[in-house]
């Protein structure tokens, strides 16, 4: 196994341990990458911020593979429902990809 591969495996194990520990915490933060119907990114950003002010802390339309990136902070028991049932079913949303933030590896300036 090369050094790079070993480092990647270690990082993955480390990350997955933290993710498992997260189940015990009360709030989860995640980045949700959203693919939107053409030219509707602005509507989705606005709707996310207006409809979920307590859960969506940031939302932005971006260039690239996804159209909108939103930062979501929600209680553990509410998190999956929020992403799978509510954000996914917003008008013009086609795909959501959710990446949970590992708190200990998250830094904000």
């Amino acid at each position: 196994m090369t050094t790079t591969a070993r480092a990647q495996t270690t990082r993955r194990i480390f990350a997955s341990r933290w993710l498992r520990r997260l189940s015990g915490t009360s709030t989860v933060s995640a980045f949700v990458l959203i693919t939107v119907v053409a030219k509707r990114s602005g509507d989705v950003v606005r709707l996310l911020m207006e409809k979920y002010p307590e859960f969506v802390t940031e939302a932005a339309a971006v260039y690239g593979e996804s159209d909108v990136i939103a930062k979501v902070e929600a209680p553990v028991e509410r998190f999956h429902e929020l992403v799978m049932d509510e954000i996914q079913n917003l008008p013009n949303v086609k795909v959501t990809r959710t990446f949970v933030i590992i708190p200990q590896l998250h830094e904000v300036r």
Binding site: S16, L19, S23, M84, Q88, K94, V95, T96, F99
Partner: protein, 206 residues
Amino acid sequence: MNAAFFAVIGAVGGGLITAVTTASISYYQRHSSIREAHRIHAFERHLEAYERIFVTVRSVLDALNDFEVISARVINRPDPVLQQLLDILNNCAYQYCTAVDWRYNASMAYLDLRLEERCLKLRDLLLRWLSGQRLTTGDTLSIYHDDELEEISARRARALRIGDYQELSVEKITTVTNAPGDARLKRRIRRTATSVIKHLKDVMAY
């Protein structure tokens, strides 16, 4: 007296019959030429409308063929091309339904009864096609776990915990399905459309 009387009666009768026959023939010829002139006039006036019916029915048949060919080839029913072809077929069917409607096409009044009935029969079949539900929208869920992509069921998604995945992906997909009785309906549409095309060609070749 008797012979002369009968000769006169015979001559008068013969003359009368000849006169009535001649009058009938000339009336019939005149009536027929008026009717013919009227038909030519109506045909020339409405040729564009007949062409529209022809074009729309031809488009329906072509779109149906394209839909069937691609439908038999696709492995993945959410195929976007298949959805597009279904959309085109529905649009063609709608165009045909308006082309043979009295409110949009007065020329239907001059078609002979058999062709008119065929046109309306095809319209009924296409309306039945348009009323069928063939698009189903739903979500597919998948997770990246240990760098492997795995599709999961909705039930399993409900039981997911935060640490169970590296990435959770939910995609909205639209699947093209067959409505009940579609195979028979498509056969009937094809048969009736072919018949309408054939008879309409006869009218247009007039």
